[in-house]
Amino acid sequence: MTSHRIKGAGRLTPARKARFTFDGKIYTALEGDTVASALLANGVHLMGRSFKYHRPRGILSAGAEEPNALLDVARDSARCQPNVRASVQEVFDGAIIQSQNRWPFLSFDIGGINNLLSPFFAAGFYYKTFMWPREAWAKLYEPIIRRAAGLGVAPKEEDPDHYANRFAHCDVLVAGAGAAGLTAALSAAETGASVILVDERAEVGGALLFDSGIVIDGKPGYDWAHGVLARLKAMPNVRVLTRTTVFGYYNHNFIGLAERVTDHLPRPNKSLPRERLWQVRAKKVVLATGAIERHMVFANNDRPGIMLASAARMYLNHYGVAVGSKVGVYTAHDSAYEAAFDLKRAGIDVVSIVDCRAKPNEALLSAARVLGIEVLSGYSVVNTSGRLRISSMTVARNGSTNHRKIPVDALLMSGGWTPSVHLFSQSRGKLKFDAENQRFLPNIYAEACVSVGACNGTDEIGALLAEASAAGGGALNLSGESAYAWTGGMIGAAEGAGPDTAVKAFVDFQHDVTAKDIRLAVREGMHSIEHIKRFTTNGMASDQGKLSNMHGLAIAAEMLGKDIPQVGLTTFRAPYTPVTYGTLIAHSRGDLFDPARKTPLHGELVAAGAEFEDVGNWKRAWYFPRRGEDMHAAVNRECKTAREVAGIFDASTLGKIEVVGPDAAKFLNLMYTNAWDNLKPGKCRYGIMTREDGFIYDDGVVGRLAEDRFHVTTTTGGAPRVLHHMEDYLQTEFPDLKVWLTSTTEQWAVIAVQGPKARDIIEPLVEGLDLSNEAFPHMSVAECTVMGVPARLFRVSFTGEIGFEVNVPADYGASVWKAIWERGEALGACLYGTETMHVLRAEKGYIIVGQDTDGTVTPDDAGYGWAVSKKKMDFVGIRGLKRPDLIRSGRKQLVGLLTQDLTEVLEEGGQIVADPNEPKPMTMLGHVTSAYWSENLGRSIAIALVADGRARMGKTVYIPMKDKTIAATVTDMVFFDKEGGRIHG
């Protein structure tokens, strides 16, 4: 296909091709290619620009740790994804791929000027400047910085894809399906345990995908891995999830997985989720997450074409791609030799292995000799050249200034391997430093968890297999051998990275953090690794320091003259690699974001043309506009009709709790400020609930149905918390009381019929009950039959008119509502919604808890001191109510307000002052809690909390608004039918 794909190498099928575009140019890939392998196969090394200096960057790795090659990958204008790692994303036919953070082109980027200005842009420079003049930061500097920063561009359209969630449980979750993970999973599965095996790659195998030198059970590693996979897949107790990242290790072995379901498919089935969130609770977790190869820190170590040795080996052995034709190697570790050997055997010119160690492994040296590869031991690479791709490396013997320039078009590097302890650390396990091998390893476990293989520092294949088998809980007897035992490695700056000059030796590629930045941070007093990280931004890029953390730490330790463990290690946090919001949200969007609760009468309300409002989770009818009416007109009409004829209202959302048992009254005595033992069956009472602090918590009408049965109502929003509050006291403080609580909010549809003709409307529908004033006066309750179904009828009023609340089993609600409305309509009644309900109750001075009170209001403040029993020895709130501040004078009290201009309706939330001319800050007396136009009174009315309000009756107060000041007179709260005769008919 192209000259960079080597015939016979790799495991992809040459016949299965896919086409994609990169920055508008069409390329061909093979199925199974990553974007990185496909671009490399096409000879493309330049894939991105760095964050700060906009330096040209190519692919560095072949895995999740990639810091450089971040691309925008799209299917269409809505399905575009910024910051995708080219080394992870699989190519699919039709992919539209673009480079990021460059303008106008990737190859010529104006932002590259930052590279020239870099001496000015040292770590933390922005803390020291951009301060003058004061306004310039937000107006000038910050906008420029913000435009320059950021990598990819967020999609502009709503994501059309969907995502899924799955809760799962297992005995053993294995993270990583390399040699260790496969072994542990098989070992566990053979004991009958339920196993979930997870790997972030499309294929299992881990390092076996590139490491051609490993043989297990007599088979090449890759073949063995696929054999084990086949066995696992055949077992019913095993689930293998590939393309799935273990992104988070949370408390008590709760593990978050992100499975990429369709991002590799050219034309995914629409029913498939794009990604799936797995929330797994595992009895045991086996971490087999391997190790990540480190780069070498030296001058200009970031040019395209410079990459990790294992990555080059992966591109060759798995994808069949040559990363260069004249390849140099710079290493401190044995593994890079094997990469060189593989490349050489594939016919690629490997010009030199530069090994900074004085005495590399003799076996490797002789193998190199046999293959004809020059080895420069005790040498370092001190510089590179090449604008958009490396063209040469400059080498020097350690300690010498004699430089030799060697032309190369690729440079492989290895500083050794960093065990992937991210998940172990997330689980809050404690690490220890392995000084000999300069690495942190798992030490003290915080969860039921075990690390195996390279992430545990176990590198030798035989030991690894034995360790993994034991971790799985079974007893597999596997043999393994590798071509060479690996030794070596270094952390920190190599020769040629300094010691402390203008040289750019990159530690963190994406954030352009260099060795000298780390040194500067230390010089400025940043001695904690967390300070160094935050000051330099080392490890804070989207790769979260997978490559840079150890180097940064080592350079800081050297500067400080301390051992590495003394300098510390920054905390690893979830996610291991970035996770799409959509995946984390899964189903919770649109209608499934939050349940919208509808009453049993909802369909009838819709049919009647109701406008709705959100109250808590409920959809409630707000008002019922008729043709040509706005809200104001509709509410005025509803208010008038309700008082003159009758109004019908859906009150189903009121919270209802059935309190049953021989001690029911005793319990309510404790939970409400009122007394209940003297309430007779068949009667109702308005109750106020406080918490121990004495402030109003909830209110509602309570009906006693029998000696041992109460029907308690709560506010719409308060129902769940009131029930929880009651259960708390019942179970914890008063467990000896024989009483039980059951939520019946949704058992009943509640139809309120209020107004002079209320009785006429419902009477024909009610059986078995005399509704006359004498037999069934205000504040009565009875069980009866309505339209043939068992019902509870309340004679209660929240309007000041004769009122009934018809409770029927919810399924019958719509039918009964229809019948009531049919009769009501014939008699001239209306339907009304919450707005009219608010106006009518305000005309009567009835409060709404949560609107007129706010959690700082006592019953007495609200004018409901009468509802607090003076006789009871105890109730919840009895002591709180007596605290000094709750009984002091001058408290805010609920009062009525009448504006001096009748037509002026106050703003709810308006603040009240005594002296409108006081300069700011003004002394505020309180605020308007409710304010409406009252059509029945032909004027505006309001309720307000006012300091010492009841002592201010008749006085004028002021409500200063933005454009004017409104004068109002303090009054009592009953504006309509002050004598209260109407309620009794």
């Binding site: 008590h252 708390d728 467990p735 007596k882 605290r883």
Partner: protein
Amino acid sequence: MLLIHCPYCGESRSELEFRWAGEAHIARPENIAEISDEAFAEYFFIRDNTKGIAWERWRHIHGCGRFFNTIRDTVSDKFLLSYKAGLARQPVPGASEPVEGDAA
């Protein structure tokens, strides 16, 4: 997300089903109406907020509905014990010495 053992259900269930209910073994004073302002503030507001081993209440609100008590290490978030409401303050499992505390 915590895994919480409910002593009434006899098994461990996801934190999603539970609601935390504050420090355990704070008894409501028998003579609450009579206590001083200071004593009331102590009862209602002051909590140990222990760093380390803490006795606390949970409710299996979306399960069996019961309140119960646990012993949890607030540094590691590990549960050491769950026990039914009404039982006296339980000792820390594995602790060599009994822990002081009232039996409320």
